[in-house]
Symmetry: D2
């Protein structure tokens, strides 16, 4: 245990020469998302790729073929004890809390891929540990950081469509053909995929007071990594959410959806309607219809290169700027409460209450970020 | 009471010279929809406009301004006792059953605007009465008659997207600014609007075994016809439906929605996805994604002039062709059971079971109907 | 010759009890479009269907099957000498001028399907004749009458996108499988189809000073009405139009296009962009992007039931209201000049100048027409 | 002059350990596009960033702020004489040929940003020089390399829509607020922007035999880099292209277009229609309508992360694999001939012939590339 050398200090002058060393534990699909983030940070001099732990040595040749300079290790301890200032945890969900705690114990700031924990209880425990260590802990999904989401949030929260009474969202894919834990680990599509929608809807509409959910298994058996799973976990969840405000949301999450063409997030209010197009993890546009205007106002994505791994950029930037990252662990814990309530409801056939709540940070989008982007293959701050 | 002169006889030779006289009871918004249907049937020599009952004489000047030749009466008995062969009931929902029964008692075939009855019990009673009189009874919504819906149904039912595990649908408007019964009559948005989605989803996915629903009131107070309603009925309903097949559907219906941009009906199956665009009461296109093709196949509406009042055309045509209209009263009753279950659930906070079931008629679309339509302002059979 | 009993008199009090009798000469595809208009006017007490001349008696059974009450005649003189106040000319283009003149000579007001004449010279002659007789002459296309087009026009003309420098438009279909004159009559796709785009673009951007065009024949041979046409007329025309303002437009018209997905009309200006979606003969929406707003503002069609045969409604309404119909024969003649110039250019390989010009009527859309339409199967004035 | 050490040798075994050093000359907007390509190649061990020449030292601080490790030089000779194996030329167009020749003379393989030369003559000279030196020369635009474009090309070229008779394309932006040469250098929007459309359309439809074009100046004066240009170059060009096959294309290019919503490339054939959506420099989807299917078949982008700077990846990969890059300099020269003909035509008012032609490489897309992409934020070969 290395101690607390990275302890968050009082906010101070940005340290623009600081290069943050980033280690990674985990070598599944999400690894490549965070490496994508690193590959954008490194040329800017913001971050440097540290050691990467891939326990399973059979995966090393493939990783090295794609990244010959990768510094691979097979023991997480080697990353924990490295010089890295930030650790990214992209292992299967049931190890998130243990590894994140170990990272914090080693004085690292931590980015955890979703979900923060497999239960709200263990996640709360982790959050408290991070706070006690005065270290940053960031949990995916990072919808707060998407400028397009924030622009939508700004419009909705300032009342442009009146009081929101209904939300709708759906996200699905086919699950994993490689990782058995997707389909046997008890996590389920709401915690794996729907967590995006739940985080977005609660950011937009506010906290939840009760959830009713139903689930079923559509693809049975499943083939994962050449193995046949006769009785996979449920791969379809529908949840009906009652917000504390009285508003209602309908959410569908599934590991049995090939593809979709739907509005990602729909919000209906007493004075209009607002939509997010694309996905909340990859927004393409948002649109607002206000009764006073009587027309749809469509805004293309403010930064189409925004990536769902953006929490890493945020943490690195926050460290360089000596500020707290834009996040709310209270909100993340509430999201886990909602997901657990849905799971309990699906098993009991009864609606389940949620009692936690949270304060949201101000996600208002500074107007200067919302300028028109011509070349949507480059982020606004990479254009001249 | 005129007896049973219109009794359905054995199917025989089509009577192409027969002009069906159509009377109407009711003078609200839906009247104009059925007059639209009549105005298309009349020039073809299929039907003739009979007497129209508008009880409220204050409405007569407006009706006569728009249709100077209308033969208005203020007593329903005058329509019931007219020579009309078919009666259309477009009065407020709580009078549907009584008037439809009276029409049947007078030997008329009947088209009833949605809902068939305010409770499944009274609707069942009405259906039995029609059957005992050997007269046709058609209940809106008429999704079966939409060629675009039928093309989608044909694709889904033949297994093009595998087993359907999930459906989604939403329909909403602002309710009525004229008719107080919309907002105080206990009918609610699911019976008024969502009934379309429920009929479509059950036609596509099959019967329902349980419903959970939640509701709230978004617009309070409401102004209707210059009057302030302090405590209007709930105007937002979300329902989570479990089908007998195990599939799940999420449905939202609301009288507090200004407008929307969403996929009307989404179906997710084990081999692909299918969508209906526009509305099920006014389809613009359907699209199918099959895993074997890996691309969206998009079909524009087969007949963009198809109108939601099409039950009247169907009944008139069926009478001329001496065949039964394309309908399933069993299905209509099941739809009412689902709506009642949703209402019970919203009040109790418990999921409510549905036990009825139904046989669907074959809605397979004859390929000849599906030909390409260039001028979408004219129905395919009006093009040369 | 019956004299001039329908002469346009000084504007006076609307005659709301007047029922205008409408005769029709011609029995091709366009007949059904104008009957659609009549079937909407008749129930309102605005117009009454008169005699219809179908020269070819072989077509009578089909017409009577579809409209058993039609009063068919085979000699145009019977329509000319009927009591009809308005005549609609929907014969092949090379007879338009002769028949329209005969109708005017009989004191009828006249609606002529596109094109007004096969040459600008004969069309000018016709226009002068109508003016000398003080009778109304309306020429398709009727883009002025489309509320959605007028809303777009209002925005563009008041400068919302700055000075327009570029227009683009395309319209095409497969020509006719029934009427040989489409493909051997020398009319061509620009006069048959592109005339819509040319009228729209000149209404939006202003008069033309020169045209360059090229044409080719894509479908060779063609089968029309069971007959093989070895060398049909060119069925593809591209035209590059220079407006008097300096703006440029690119227009494509073709009888060899199966279908399309494109923006119907695009306008690029110094301060933004404006588009018409759908077709100018059937608009679905318009959208405007202004530099000051930085977002697309999308307006769904103001009246999706608007029909391209609307000139008949306009003439009937104008007669009842004792006003001039909303039209500009000068503009129609200019459109024909542009089409002739394109034809000359395609043959010579040289750009050809156009010298005529026109005053546009004020097409500003009264805001009251632009209210939100929920049920897009009914025109705004048919909704309660 | 370093000689010819990089001479293209006979194709041999791929050299998977080879890391290609890449130097860059030029520091305008396009620099960042190629750095984006480099930042994706470097972590894979394919390439390494060499020296970058930014002549104007005033730009250095900004570049170093964004890329602190950049090795900047101000004299192109330092890049020419560096160890780099590949040089990228992203200077203003009038220096492309001179610098590319110098690079070839130093034995470098070269990627040149569009246009290859300001005249076809100087570009031909450059191509011959590269061939004489047995070195690779790649010219932007790189539409051949876009998998989505290639999938469309494969469909069109194998006859899925019959014989193509018409193409349409438009591309525009607001020009440059920083580089005066955009608006005073005589290059114009067709050579700067429309070159993409011309390359795409000629790849899809075949070589051009004549061009008619017209141009105008919409934005006058212009402000560029704080300077007022009273008489900027024309910023709007419309071109009507006749292909050797007889097909016609209409192309619009402009530096006075704020934004657009249009189908990027439309192709109309005797058996159907095909479209490219998005932009040919950033395709979002392609869609095909065949008469045999009667429905649109819509394919989302095969690799939404594909970037217009992809020629650099292609050259690096080709060198590692000891093969020729996928390109046709003959085609690039023909494209310049078309652009020059358009310019001559715009000045003379006469159509101008083009006599050159070219052989296209086979762009058929291997089916294995076209697999379904779920996470469109990552390229297919970066997904597990």
């Amino acid at each position: 245990m290395r101690g607390n050398q990275n302890r968050v200090t009082a906010e101070g002058a940005p340290d623009s020469s600081r290069v943050v060393l980033v280690g990674i534990i985990g070598a599944g699909s999400a690894l490549w998302g965070y490496l994508h983030a690193l590959d954008r940070l490194a040329p800017r001099g913001y971050a440097q790729e540290g050691t990467i732990c891939a326990r399973n040595r059979e995966r090393w040749p493939d990783i090295l073929r794609r990244r010959p300079h990768a510094r691979l290790v097979s023991d997480p301890a080697e990353v924990l004890e490295s010089e890295a200032e930030v650790l990214v945890i992209v292992t299967p969900p049931d190890t998130h809390v243990e590894l994140a705690k170990a990272a914090l114990a080693h004085g690292k700031h931590v980015v955890v891929e979703k979900p923060l924990g497999t239960t709200p209880t263990e996640a709360r425990n982790l959050v408290e540990f991070a706070q006690s260590r005065h270290l940053h802990l960031l949990a995916s999904p990072f919808v707060y950081l998407s400028p397009t989401f924030r622009a939508l949030w700004t419009r909705v929260r300032r009342g442009d469509i009146g009081d929101v009474h209904s939300g709708r969202a759906l996200y699905g894919n086919l699950g994993s053909a490689h990782a058995a834990w997707y389909h046997t680990g008890g996590i389920g599509p709401l915690a794996e995929l729907g967590i995006y929608n739940v985080k977005s809807l609660t950011a937009l509409i506010g906290p939840v007071r009760a959830v009713y959910a139903a689930q079923m298994t559509a693809l049975r058996p499943r083939a994962v990594a050449g193995r046949r799973i006769a009785n996979p976990d449920p791969d379809v969840v529908h949840a009906l959410i009652q917000h504390q405000s009285g508003a209602l949301s309908s959410v569908v999450a599934s590991h049995a959806i090939w593809t979709y063409r739907r509005t990602a997030i729909e919000l209906y209010g007493t004075n209009g309607t607002a939509n997010l197009l694309g996905d909340d993890w990859d927004p393409r546009a948002y649109e607002v219809w206000q009764s006073t205007a009587g027309a749809w106002e469509v805004h293309d994505s403010i930064d189409p290169t925004w990536h769902w791994s953006d929490g890493l950029r945020e943490l690195v930037t926050a460290l360089r700027e000596r500020r707290a990252p834009l996040a709310s662990l209270e909100h993340d814990l509430h999201v886990l409460d909602v997901i657990e309530a849905a799971s309990l409801s699906a098993n009991s056939g009864q609606a389940v209450e949620v009692t936690s709540t949270y304060d949201l940070p101000d996600l208002t989008l500074d107007d200067s970020m919302a300028s028109y982007v011509h070349d949507h293959t480059r982020s606004p701050d990479e254009q001249q």
